[in-house]
C-alpha cells in the first residue's frame, strides 16, 4: 500500500518538488540552493578526497530534474535525493575499483578553512584533528563509512539508511557499531580519544 502523500507535505523538499512538478521552475532552483551542500558533503565523505564530485552532484540534480513528471512523494525528499546520490557514488566507486584509503592530506586545509576559531594555533590544531578524523573516516570500509556518514552527517535513522543501502535496519546497526568501534580505535591511536 502506498503511503499517504499528504503526510510528507510538511517536508520542504517535497513541497518544492511538487511545485516543480506542477510547472514552477523556480522551485527547482530553490531545491538546488537548499540541498546542494548536503549532496556535495555526502559525495565527498563517501568518495573521499580524490577527484571531482561536481559532475556527480550535477548528475544527481539532473536526475531530480528528469524525475519531475513522475514524482510521487512516498517519503522524505532527502530519502529520494540521497538514494540518487548514494547510487551515483556507489557506481563511481565500482567504476574506479578503488579502495577509499588515502594518505593524510597536507596542511589540513579543511579545518583551517572552517574559521570557527579566531586563534591561529587553535585553528591549526583543530585543522589537524579534522584532517585526522577525515583520514580515519576515509579508511573505513565503504559500507561502514556510508552508514556512518548517512547517520551522523545526513541525520537519517536506521530504517532510512537501510532502505537507501538496500539492507535491513539490523544490518545497518551492525555496520554502525563496527564503524564506530574501528574509528574510535584509530582516533585513540592518534591520541584524539583517551
Amino acid at each position: 500500500m502506498n503511503p499517504d502523500p499528504d503526510r510528507f507535505l510538511d517536508d520542504p523538499g517535497v513541497a518544492l518538488m511538487l511545485a516543480f512538478r506542477d510547472g514552477d521552475d523556480e522551485a527547482f532552483t530553490r531545491l538546488v540552493e537548499l540541498y546542494q551542500g548536503p549532496v556535495f558533503g555526502m559525495l565527498r565523505r563517501i568518495l573521499g578526497p580524490r577527484g571531482s564530485v561536481e559532475d556527480l552532484a550535477q548528475e544527481t540534480f539532473l536526475r531530480v530534474w528528469r524525475s519531475r513528471d513522475g514524482y510521487r512523494p512516498t517519503g522524505k525528499f532527502t530519502t529520494f535525493l540521497y538514494r540518487i546520490t548514494y547510487n551515483l557514488a556507489l557506481n563511481r566507486l565500482r567504476d574506479e575499483g578503488r579502495r577509499p584509503v588515502r594518505p593524510l592530506p597536507e596542511g589540513a586545509e579543511e579545518g583551517l578553512a572552517d574559521g570557527a576559531s579566531p586563534d591561529p594555533v587553535e585553528a591549526a590544531d583543530r585543522g589537524d584533528r579534522a584532517a585526522l578524523v577525515r583520514a580515519a573516516l576515509d579508511r573505513l570500509p565503504r559500507n561502514q563509512r556510508t552508514a556512518l556518514v548517512l547517520q551522523h552527517y545526513e541525520g537519517l535513522d536506521l530504517a532510512e539508511i537501510g532502505s537507501l543501502m538496500g539492507i535491513s535496519a539490523k544490518a545497518v546497526k551492525s555496520l554502525l557499531h563496527r564503524a564506530r568501534t574501528r574509528l574510535r580505535e584509530e582516533l585513540t591511536d592518534h591520541g584524539l580519544l583517551p
Binding site: T29, V32, E33, Q36, G37, F40, G41, L43, R44, R45, V53, E54, A57, Q58, F61, L62, W65, E110, G111, A113, D114, R126, R129, A130, V133, R134, L137, L148, H152, Y153, R180, L183, R184, L187, L192, L193
Partner: protein
C-alpha cells in the same frame, strides 16, 4: 561509571570529533553550470522529439499529396476504372466489317479514315450514308483486282522467254 554510560560518553566524544569536519564547500558557479547542463539536455530532448516526429510528418505529407492529387484528377473529369467490358484486340486479317465498325472510334482517333492514301474501301465503310454491304463489296472487288493483277504479272513472267531456270511451262 557504568559500562553503558562510559560507552555513551565515548560515543559523544566520537561525535564531537566527527563534527570537526567542515561542511563540504559548494564550488562557485555550480548552480549556473547545472542550469547550462539542463538547458543542453532540454535542447537535445527537444531535437530528439522533433526527429521522432519526422517519419510521421513525411507519411502525413505523402498521404496529403496523394489525396490532393486524386481530388484534382477526379475534379478535372477523370474517372476511376469501372470494370466495363473492353473490346478484344482486333485481328486485321480476319476482322469482319462489323468488327471494324465497332472500332471506328479508335480508327477515327488515329485519323486513319481521314487519310486519302489509305484503303478507300474502309473510308467508304466508315461513311454513314453508304450501305455496309456495298462497301464490303467494294473492298472485295478491290482485293480481287489486286489479286488479278498479281496473277497477270505471274502469267506474264511465265510467258517471257528465259524467265527462270527451268521454271517455265514446257
Amino acid at each position: 561509571m557504568t559500562d553503558t554510560s562510559r560507552h555513551d560518553a565515548e560515543d559523544r566524544r566520537l561525535d564531537d570529533l566527527l563534527d570537526l569536519l567542515p561542511p563540504e564547500p559548494v564550488p562557485e558557479g555550480f548552480a549556473e553550470r547545472l542550469a547550462e547542463r539542463i538547458a543542453a539536455e532540454e535542447g537535445a530532448a527537444r531535437r530528439r522529439r522533433r526527429f521522432r516526429l519526422l517519419p510521421a510528418l513525411v507519411s502525413a505529407a505523402a498521404a496529403a499529396v496523394l489525396f490532393l492529387g486524386a481530388g484534382y484528377w477526379l475534379g478535372s473529369g477523370g474517372a476511376l476504372p469501372t470494370g466495363e467490358a473492353v473490346a478484344p484486340p482486333l485481328d486485321g486479317e480476319t476482322a469482319s466489317l462489323d468488327e471494324l465498325y465497332a472500332y471506328r472510334d479508335l480508327l477515327d482517333s488515329w485519323e486513319l479514315l481521314e487519310d486519302p492514301d489509305l484503303e478507300p474501301g474502309l473510308a467508304v465503310a466508315a461513311s454513314e450514308t453508304t450501305p455496309w454491304d456495298q462497301a464490303w463489296d467494294w473492298v472485295a472487288e478491290d482485293a480481287a483486282a489486286v489479286e488479278a493483277e498479281g496473277l497477270d504479272a505471274d502469267a506474264a513472267g511465265e510467258a517471257a522467254p528465259g524467265a527462270g531456270v527451268g521454271g517455265g511451262r514446257r
